[in-house]
Amino acid sequence: MSTNSLARTEFIVRTIARTAVEKEQEFCDLDAVVGDGDFGYSLARGFEIVLQDWDSFERTDIGTFLQKVALVISARIGGTSGPIWGTAFLRAAGVAKGRQQLAAADAVGMLRAAIDGIKVRGGAEVGDKTLLDALVPVADALEQAAADGADGAAAVETAAKAARDAAEATSSLAARRGRASYSGDRSIGSPDAGAMAVAIMLEQINAGWPGH
């Protein structure tokens, strides 16, 4: 069973942040189809500060590190994404509080906590065409991989595939939360921007994973 050190957490967070900054335009375009086209812009304005302040974050334990990242996200990202992503990181930080090492099960627990936080914060459920529709399949895939005794690299690869499939499947859904919900049935036919971002970030994590 693989363990997640602070270094591994840093790698994951940095990959998420870099992807948000590099794919700003692509994420905006995804949001423009039925949303208001600012999703990439909002994410990038927060995650570029995460990268900029990277060395200054306290790293006494994994939870503290994630909490510092969560604060930057909450403070700097506007729109729907600020509270959603900020809450997600904060809840994950809570699970990792005081920990120096994390088992695969802990990683799943952190993701589940993040998902619950998102649900409480935004009132959305799976099927409402939000990033939850990609995150929940990722959590399921990681849990299954842990149960199967897969190593980290294998687990991440399955998770990335699950995220991509699930994100693309949101095309068939009608949005019921967020700005896209005003489009009603007009939102059917294009994938959710948030879910696609989750898939692309997981693919980047998978691509950079040590041992690939």
């Binding site: 905006c28 086209g37 909002s42 403070a75 729109g79 729907t80 600020g82 509270p83 935004g122 005003y182």
Partner: protein, 331 residues
């Protein structure tokens, strides 16, 4: 993109700096959290009123800070709710012993940011109440949607609670008044063109040369239907019919009537719409007690307009008539 813009990332801060420079005696600017505030806020004898929401709706809300309206506005970037942190810092900076009232247009992002800010501020011992505004009749309310949007009608809530707060009303009273005004206010708009956010650099949605969007949201969200381009009278008649039916407004009612420009429509056209709406209301025996024609809540450079009706009573009419001094003035 044909706009007066430098680096799009600086668009909102540069606008806010301009507002502060143009109103040196009355307004202050706190760049750290996009805050435009009254210089004399917070005041011990007055509940503090704060509104946030995304930018791109000017004069709402940064240009409606001043005596008789808001104490502060802390907008997010264009069409993006402010980070919760901005709202929290604003509430702390402007906290009054009489409490803080947060006015929030009912959108997912704004709602979450203001709820988080309220939690944080309450943890600091600040007395905070939040009021949601949702006057847009274009969106059907149901458990499967996020509910109706707050659009140009938010002006009336701001104006009424602003006047009451100036007169010394306490927080409970302001919540009562705000809820009453909101419950009697209905709006619907139509877009003739799409708007172009500076950071995007191209129109937010596609609208054919002969198409309009009936019931458009103030961020360019789709409304009830795409319709063929029609005359001024046909468009205003449909908007007015939707608004009147919704409350419903009825013969004998006395109302405030607002024709709000969405940013790219000249005021001459707004008065054409106003004249027709006024006459149509008269035909229904609805009396216009107060008239509002101009830009109150825009959608960047979108050509279009919305119509708002408020069912007046003596209390509301008096609050709307009270003086106010804000940056959105002409002399």
């Amino acid at each position: 993109m044909k706009k007066f813009v430098n680096d799009p990332k600086d668009f909102v801060p540069e606008m806010l700096k301009g507002i502060a420079l143009a109103n040196p005696d009355t307004l202050a600017y706190v760049p750290e959290f996009n805050l435009i505030m009254r210089k004399d806020a917070p005041r011990e004898d007055k509940v503090t009123i704060i509104q946030g929401s995304g930018s791109g709706h000017e004069p709402a809300h940064v240009m409606t800070v001043g005596r008789g309206m808001l104490d502060g506005a802390c907008p997010g970037d264009v069409f993006a709710a402010p980070p919760a942190h901005y709202v929290y810092e604003t509430a702390k900076t402007l906290a009054s012993p009489k409490g803080v009232l947060l006015l929030v247009n009912n959108y997912t992002g704004d709602k979450m940011a203001f709820e988080m800010a309220q939690e944080l501020a309450e943890a600091d011992g600040i007395n905070v109440r939040t009021l949601f505004i949702n006057d847009d009749v274009a969106v059907e309310d149901s458990t499967f949607t996020v509910g109706r949007r707050g659009v140009a009608g938010n002006f009336f809530v701001m104006k009424a609670v602003g006047a009451a707060a100036e007169a010394g009303a306490d927080l409970d009273e302001l919540v009562r008044i705000g809820q009453k005004v909101n419950s009697r206010t209905r709006t619907m708009g139509a877009a003739l063109t799409a708007c172009t956010p500076p950071a995007k650099g191209s129109p937010l949605f596609e609208l054919g040369a002969d198409e309009i969007e009936m019931g458009v949201g103030i961020h360019g969200e789709p409304g009830r239907r795409r319709a063929p381009l029609a005359t001024a009278n046909e468009i205003i008649d449909e908007l007015l019919e939707s608004v009147v039916r919704d409350l419903p407004f009825a013969a004998g009612d006395r109302v405030a009537l607002m024709i709000n420009g969405l940013g790219g429509t000249p005021v001459s056209e707004l008065y054409v719409l106003y004249g027709r709406a006024h006459e149509q209301l008269a035909a229904r025996e609805i009396t216009v007690g107060r008239s509002y024609v101009g830009e109150y809540c825009t959608s960047l450079d979108m050509a279009g307009a919305s119509v708002t009706l408020v069912q007046l009573d003596d209390e509301i009419e008096e609050l709307l008539a009270a003086p106010a001094e804000i940056a959105a003035r002409v002399f």
